[in-house]
Every structure is written in structure tokens, then in C-alpha cells.
């Protein structure tokens, strides 16, 4: 079941399946103060497009996905200029209307496959719960086969602890795909898996995404993994996108010094060049460009003013001194 590279042409459809503009998320801490963890976040996806969100730990990748899914806790504040999924305006929708999106419009798979399954229920039971009402066992088995599970009939009777990490992740992918979502958020779906199993899951996901013309937001801290599943990526640093563009060009010729720094820090290309210093925590973001204190190209202006977006045809960068025009 290899990826049959379908052309990424546009199909007639009214507008994007996901449209996020100016999303910001803040959490309330004990002293009733708000700490912003994500700002100025834009993402627009057409049917069948796959994009990736890359960034280091704490940069806000998961929070961005949970905000769209409506799964953040009550002490979170979500604001946006526009937040639309399918045909629903999430900013004005009722909680009930939002919940009804989960499954058919929006679905998500998480990093820890086993923690996301109920240990006391069989795979078959949990999978059928996720499928349209009245789905048959045969349909459930077919869905498991679709995500590359060997011996799907027998697996339906298994409990989560009887599955390997890779098999558990396949079950979760099957559950997420059960209602043919328009948009799939895949949050570090292979980080907990071995490389040989990771390769299986990535090939499967890329194949399903292209065959089902599903939009996918693939979240990972691993640039290599991201480059294997998406043709577009956003680079997040300290709660804000610093650069976005088409792959592989973005990784081949990055414009933002942070993107370049991430690539230079990857082992396997001669000399390693660490980025000096640390990522600032939310609440301690510097004024101006947040990467300025660690940036080898920073000048006075970088420490004072947030850089404007510089836009080219297929990409944009938020930097006062980009590496390329």
C-alpha cells in the first residue's frame, strides 16, 4: 500500500476546510493573571492539503491544535479574528455544534497511543464507538485493514495492552479516520514509536491523506519526519510562527535564522552547530523578535520591534534580516 502520489490539484469546493486567522491562546494562572502561549497564528487549508507545524518543545504546537478542536481546559482563553472549520464559524458556534464537528469534520491523533485508548474495552468496541452508528464488525475490520493492521478480525477482540505501540497507533488512526474527517490533526503520531514502525506509520498516513484527499495538520519537532509527510510547513518559535513555506524549499533555503539554526543543529551533516541559549518561556518573551537574544544576525531593531511579515509567492518570513530576500 505505497503512496500513489496523486496530483495535488484543486477540486471544485467552496473555500478552505480550515481557516484560522490571528489565533491566540492564553492560560489563567493562580493569581488571575493571563499568560499568552500562542499568538498571531494563521493557517488556511484547502481540501487534500497537508501542512506541518514544526517547533521545539513548548512552542505551542499542541495548543494550536487543541484550540481548533475545542479541547482546551476551561481556564484557557481562545481569541481569533477568524476560526472556521468546514462551514462552521467556531467563534460563534454553540458547544453542541462544535462537538458535532468532532469526527466528521475534525479529528486528532495524539503522541501516546496507549494513553489514548481505554484499557478495559476491546479494540473492536472502541473502534465501533468512533464509527457511524450501526457500523458492522466487517466494516470495523475493513477499517483496520485500511490502516495496515495485519489480521484485523483477531485484533478487534484484543485489549489495548495486548497491542504493540505501532498497533495501538494504527487503531487510533483508524478511529480518527472512522468518520472520514475533512481535517486530521496528527500530533507527534510517531514520536513514541521505533524507527522501523515509524516508517510504516508515516508511509500509511501520507498514503491515506493523499488517497482520501483529507486535509492534514502534521505536528512534530522532527524536521526530517515533517519533510516526509507534508509539502508545506509552519515554523513556530516561542508561541509565534516565524516562517512558513513550501517543502522542501523551506528547509533547503530557509529565510529565518531560527529555521536555519534548527537545520544546522541536526546531526548527520558534518559539524554540529548548536543554537546558543534557551527558548524563553511564555510570560518571558522579549519585546521585538522573540528569537533576537539567540540570533547571530540580530541588530538593535530586532530587540525593539516585532518584524513585519515579508511575503514571497509561496512563503513568508517574519524577520528584520532574513537570510534570503
Amino acid at each position: 500500500m505505497n503512496s500513489t502520489a496523486l496530483p495535488q490539484q484543486e477540486q471544485p469546493r467552496q473555500g478552505p476546510v480550515l481557516d484560522i486567522q490571528g489565533l491566540s491562546v492564553a492560560f489563567r494562572s493562580h493569581h488571575q493573571t493571563w499568560t499568552t502561549v500562542l499568538e498571531h497564528f494563521d493557517l488556511r487549508l484547502e481540501q487534500g492539503q497537508a501542512t506541518a507545524i514544526v517547533g521545539e518543545s513548548g512552542s505551542g504546537k499542541t495548543v494550536a491544535a487543541l484550540a481548533v478542536m475545542g479541547l482546551l481546559p476551561g481556564y484557557a482563553r481562545v481569541e481569533a479574528r477568524r476560526l472556521q472549520a468546514g462551514n462552521l464559524d467556531l467563534l460563534t458556534a454553540t458547544p453542541k455544534a462544535r462537538r458535532s464537528l468532532l469526527g466528521p469534520t475534525l479529528a486528532m491523533i495524539f503522541q501516546e497511543p496507549r494513553a489514548s485508548l481505554n484499557p478495559s474495552l476491546t479494540v473492536g468496541y472502541q473502534l465501533k464507538e468512533a464509527m457511524p452508528r450501526g457500523s458492522t464488525t466487517a466494516a470495523a475490520a475493513a477499517l483496520l485493514a485500511e490502516v495496515g493492521m495485519a489480521d484485523p478480525r483477531a485484533r478487534l477482540r484484543a485489549f489495548p495492552h495486548e497491542l504493540s505501540g505501532g498497533m495501538a497507533q494504527r487503531v487510533l488512526i483508524a478511529m480518527a479516520l472512522a468518520r472520514k474527517p475533512a481535517v486530521l490533526f496528527a500530533d507527534e503520531p510517531t514520536t513514541a514509536l521505533d524507527v522501523t514502525v515509524q516508517a510504516q506509520i508515516l508511509a500509511q498516513l501520507a498514503d491515506l491523506q493523499q488517497r482520501q484527499r483529507m486535509a492534514m495538520v502534521f505536528i512534530s519537532h522532527d524536521l526530517a519526519v515533517v519533510s516526509q509527510v507534508a509539502r508545506h510547513a509552519l515554523v513556530l518559535y516561542a508561541g509565534a510562527v516565524v516562517e512558513e513555506g513550501a517543502l522542501p524549499e523551506l528547509f533547503k533555503h530557509p529565510a529565518h535564522p531560527y529555521t536555519q539554526g534548527l537545520i544546522n543543529a541536526l546531526p548527520g551533516q558534518g559539524d554540529l552547530q548548536p543554537i546558543s541559549g534557551l527558548v524563553p518561556s511564555p510570560g518571558q518573551w522579549p519585546p521585538g523578535c522573540r528569537f533576537a537574544p539567540r540570533c547571530p544576525r540580530a541588530s538593535a531593531v530586532c530587540h525593539e520591534t516585532l518584524p513585519p511579515w515579508l511575503t514571497a509567492d509561496n512563503s513568508r518570513v517574519r524577520c528584520h534580516h532574513p537570510l534570503r530576500p
Binding site: V195, Q200, L205, I263, L266, Q273, V279
Partner: protein, 346 residues
């Protein structure tokens, strides 16, 4: 010069129902000098079990371990002397749980000196702590801070520094950078390379990340279900693998896609590794191997020296690597065999 030799290490864990987890099944290697041996393989293949044996945190059921010619581990061997224990230090994966939260950075670095060296006076100890803090890149005022005030990467630096306070000969690192972001991971790898040179450390580096391993290791040992599939100089084992499992690991490792090649290629191996409770007969890798023939199902392949590395595969001789003319092969364990893939570190 430090030498570390493992011969036929076996570790079996009895579990419920009179069954046995064959975590390690006859592992041998030999190291000499300030070199790094990387232990690679998938989850559950026995990497940490091997690390614990070398760290003397656990005892083998069979086999021996020699440090500088002295036998330091064997079944039923009486307690090792404190100076041997001191010579081998360990750093674990998780920088969040491995440090005592009630001690300051200064106290954490001081603790091994305080507990183990009789007779070092407080002034000398303070000097040694300051020196190590400097090596690790901490400012003197940070010595009064507690672990929760440091980031993950800083905490991993502290754990490494603590392990080096008593100037060990051997440093065992179990997935030391796996929990860290790439920018921080690169800082730690650079630090390890510098400290290895300064302290003449022989390092055992456990990792599942082949790119990291290629950067830091001179020698690589590939484990599968507790058995050595291939061991030898990093440049040979990783760049010109002979064992089908090493090849699959190398192919499966995600590469940064910089050209027009298609997205996620077909996975090189189907399925998961089988259970070490019931390892396959013959070659343990045969159920997943694309090259299995009859003999693989019945006979255990013995390791043999082929093109500069030890490889345990019945068919390894059938696929010779393309070697550059004039390249000299070095046997595993021989000093100087294999250079890590990097320019002289900064």
C-alpha cells in the same frame, strides 16, 4: 589507556508462569581508549539491560566484563571495590527525575566528592565544583539554584557533570539526548565530545537515533532481541551495513527531504520485533528479514569478521559493500577503528 571488554554477557529475567525474558543473549565487545561505542536497536532489544550490566547496577547470568584487565562482573562475583564502582558512572535519559530536587546545583556536584572521597577538604571540593560548573557552562551565581529552576538541557548537563566529578574512566549514557530539543541536543553532544577529550573518557552511548550515533560514536553495536547483529567501526556499520537489520534501521531512519523525491517511502520492514519471551528459532531476525532462506529458520548464525566488522548473518558474504580502493578495514575493538562523522569538534 582504559580497556573495557565484554564477553558473552547474558541476562534473563524470570517472569510469571516460569517464563523467561531473554533480554540479553551473549553480547561481546572490546573497547580501548577514549572512544565511544554506541548501542543501537529498537525498543526492548536490551540496550538498557546492557547499560545496567556495564554500570554494575545489575549482574549478568553468564559472561564477564573486564575493566583494564580486571574482572569486574561475572555471575556470582562478590561485591566490587568502591574504586571500581567509582570508575564507571552513568547518565540516564530523563533529566527531570534523575536529580535530587532538594539540592542546589552546587550541592549536587559536591555530593559525590562528599560521599566518596575521604579526606578532600571543603576548600578543594569547592574548587572542584566551581571548575566543573565552568566546564558545563554555568555561571558561579547559578550554583545556588535548584533543579526546577533549570531547563531540561541544563539539567542533563548537571547530570553529566555530576557523573564526572570523580573522574571516571567509563561513562555510560542511556539515551542522554532523546528527551531534548534539537538545538539543546546539539549543545549536549558538543559538551560530551569536549569532556571526552578532556577527561579521556571511554563512553558507552545508548541511543535509537542513528544520526546522533553517527555523529558521536567510533564504534557501533546493533542489538536485536538481545543479540548482536553487527558490531564494528561506525563508518562501516552505518554507512556500509552488511546485516539486513542494520540496513533496514538505516533506511527507516527519517531523512530530511531536500529534493523532489516522493513523500514517505515504503517502510523497509513489516511488523514489530517479536517478544523476547519467545524469540524465534534460528536467526532471531528471520521472521522480518527480506532475505530469509531455509538455514536462517534453523541455525543460529555465528558472528564472523567480514569487511572490517563482526556480522551475524548466514548470507552477509553475498552482498559485498562497494569499498573505496585503498581503504583499510579495522577489526572492532581495535584502537582507532572508525572516525565519527564530524570535523574536529568545536
Amino acid at each position: 589507556m582504559t580497556t573495557l571488554v565484554a564477553q558473552g554477557l547474558v541476562r534473563h529475567f524470570p517472569v510469571r508462569g516460569k517464563r523467561v525474558v531473554q533480554a540479553l543473549n551473549g553480547v561481546s565487545f572490546a573497547m580501548e581508549g577514549a572512544v565511544t561505542l554506541a548501542i543501537v536497536g529498537e525498543s526492548g532489544c536490551g540496550k538498557s539491560t546492557l547499560g545496567r550490566l556495564v554500570s554494575l547496577l545489575d549482574q549478568p547470568d553468564a559472561g564477564t566484563l573486564h575493566l583494564n584487565g580486571q574482572r569486574i562482573a561475572a555471575p556470582g562475583l562478590a561485591k566490587v571495590q568502591p574504586q571500581v564502582r567509582r570508575a564507571i558512572q552513568t547518565v540516564f535519559q530523563d533529566p527531570w527525575t534523575s536529580l535530587n530536587p532538594r539540592l542546589t546545583l552546587g550541592a549536587i556536584l559536591d555530593e559525590p566528592l562528599r560521599l566518596m572521597t575521604g579526606g578532600m577538604n571543603p576548600a578543594r571540593r569547592r574548587e572542584a565544583v566551581m571548575e566543573m560548573a565552568g566546564h558545563l557552562g554555568f555561571a558561579p551565581e547559578q550554583l545556588n539554584r535548584y533543579p526546577h529552576m533549570f531547563s531540561g538541557g541544563q539539567r542533563q548537563r548537571i547530570a553529566i557533570g555530576r557523573a564526572l566529578m570523580l573522574h571516571p574512566a567509563v561513562l555510560v549514557l542511556d539515551e542522554p539526548v532523546s528527551a531534548l530539543d534539537v538545538s539543546i541536543q546539539a549543545q549536549i553532544l558538543a559538551l560530551l565530545l569536549r569532556l571526552q577529550r578532556d577527561y579521556h573518557l571511554l563512553m558507552l552511548f545508548i541511543s535509537h537515533d542513528l544520526a546522533v550515533v553517527r555523529h558521536i560514536a567510533n564504534q557501533v553495536l546493533v542489538l536485536y532481541l538481545g543479540k548482536v547483529m553487527e558490531v564494528g567501526p561506525a563508518a562501516m556499520v552505518l554507512d556500509q551495513p552488511l546485516h539486513p537489520y542494520t540496513k533496514a534501521l538505516q533506511q527507516a531512519a527519517p531523512k530530511l527531504r531536500l529534493g523532489a523525491e516522493p513523500l514517505a517511502p515504503h517502510a523497509p520492514l513489516p511488523g514489530d520485533p517479536p517478544s523476547p519471551l519467545d524469540p524465534p528459532r534460528g536467526c532471531v531476525f528471520h521472521p522480518r528479514c527480506p532475505h530469509t532462506i531455509a538455514i536462517c529458520r534453523t541455525e543460529i548464525p555465528q558472528p564472523r569478521l567480514l569487511e572490517g566488522r563482526q556480522v551475524a548473518c548466514h548470507r552477509a558474504h553475498e552482498w559485498p559493500t562497494e569499498k573505496e580502493p585503498g581503504e583499510s578495514a579495522t577489526a572492532p575493538g581495535e584502537p582507532g577503528g572508525g572516525e565519527p562523522d564530524r570535523a574536529a569538534d568545536a
